[in-house]
Subunit: 257 residues, 2 copies
């Protein structure tokens, strides 16, 4: 199972939108996909039409109780190949719960190993923090996609995130996590600012930046409000086309774990 | 001195843009204004044309060293009445430094008291976290402006922030902090989603929501990249007009400390 973390400690840069819609794109290509909501805010859960506060079982139970009950925690979606491992605010208690646990950054990876045959791809929607949840996601992953909002502060925190990935890779050897690519999001085609940011990013990071960029579109913002991935909400939209292009580009960059 | 915290633990909802441009609006009305950058990211500092990494003295020194050197820490701006107390990444170390200090949430307020006559208004740009820095800002403030991005997840974390303000007010009695208003940001005039979010916010919070809303405009996004407040960068723009309207509305809501 390829495990792809969608991560950036910066708030509001398009992690959840990317996690949901990239998962949707992979699923419609025929892959068995698990979208793992790893954010106590539960936005990926909300964005696929579930109310986090009404769920008895969530990824929190998966983390503390082992995967015996995974079949009862997982939720279906209106895309057959796409399953959701939902989250709610209980997940915020994990930090405290695991404070003194040995190897507390390794628990998610440990829980995912026994179910490695259930899915082809697991996408992890990360919270906007560089804390214990993010570290669990990074140690468990083989690849990291970093959404970067195309505005003036685009570079903020990027070096720190890339350094963190490197530290994880070295300290938790043998660990395969590496940045798969930087994804420019909220790109506005006609503004000079957007173009300058994109040129700057490609100048600094070269091929690490995906060729695909995600433009700011109304349908991408509306889809979560009706609890659907862009592929079912607006299949002919620009957003759907761009996440399909990203899926193809990502498949070409996967490393075999 | 009126102390107004611009706060929301959500990332990217317009805190820095509001802090800078509301400060600019007040200054051009004739008030003596201190813009206090309280975010280790240093965005308010960057947005007014300074490079945080090149500054010897910042708000960190103000916090740990007392205000004796405030005159040498403060930076001028190209608006006469607007001074900047800059920040850089050193501020992130404050959490650790003050970990065992008694009353560690009260230090900013303590440092600001002796200079209460230097300025009419102090605006505090808060970081996107509900940690020690934010708590210092809240205990020091008389008013809190909460920028809220007009999108699907607008309500996220809002209750928690308002509850926190209430807890601070009670536990640190006599403490005057209270929410002055919720400011809708990134409003897009022609989208149904934006309208639905605004109606929803006004339905839930009534008069707590400012009448003024800030529309998404290119000039507001460009101003920090040339290190200027909107008032000097694009004085005739919609963004400048909206922050001037907000300044007037805020003045009407100030409580006398
Ligand atoms: N390309 C886009 N065009 C328009 N709206 C978008 C786009 N991408 C994301 N959005 C909207 O912007 C908001 C923030 O996006 P999103 O939730 O994906 O960011 P995030 O990085 O997951 O945020 P957080 O840090 O809170 O987890 C959401 O309301 C989302 O619907
Ligand atoms: N009304 C607006 N129209 C267009 N762009 C805007 C607007 N308000 C803010 N922006 C831009 O959006 C980005 C995020 O805004 P800002 O930095 O003010 O948010 P913030 O809440 O301070 O973020 P952080 O949580 O990182 O401190 C910035 O690049 C800013 O220039
Ligand atoms: Mg998210
Ligand atoms: Mg900011």
């Amino acid at each position: 199972m390829q495990i792809i973390a969608v991560a950036n400690q910066k708030g509001g840069c398009g992690k959840t939108t990317t996690a949901i819609n990239l998962a949707g794109a992979f699923a419609l290509m025929g892959y068995k996909v698990l979208l793992l909501d790893f954010d106590p805010q539960g936005h990926a859960t909300l964005g696929l039409g579930y109310n986090p506060n009404e769920l008895d079982l969530t990824v929190y139970d998966f983390m503390v109780g082992g995967n015996a009950r995974l079949a009862s925690i997982i939720q279906r979606t209106n895309i057959d190949n796409l399953h959701l491992l939902p989250a709610n605010v209980l997940l915020a208690g994990l930090d405290l719960e695991l404070r003194t646990a040995p190897g507390k950054e390794l628990i998610l990876g440990e829980q995912l190993r026994p179910i490695a045959d259930w899915y082809d791809i697991c996408l992890i929607d990360c919270p906007p923090t560089l804390g214990l949840l993010m570290l669990n996601a990074l140690t468990a992953s083989t690849n990291v996609i970093v959404p970067v909002q195309a505005h003036f502060y685009a570079l903020d925190g990027l070096k720190r995130l890339l350094d963190t990935i490197q530290v994880i890779r070295t300290r938790f050897h043998p660990c395969l996590v590496r940045p798969m690519g930087l994804l420019l999001t909220f790109v506005e085609g006609r503004t000079l600012l957007s173009k300058r940011v994109e040129d700057g990013m490609r100048g600094l990071f070269g091929p690490l930046v995906f060729d695909t960029v995600i433009h700011k579109t109304i349908t991408l913002a509306e889809a979560p409000s009706v609890g659907q991935a862009i592929q079912t909400y607006a299949p002919d939209s620009r957003g759907a086309a761009e996440y399909e292009a990203l899926a193809k580009e990502a498949l070409g960059r996967l490393q075999t774990p």
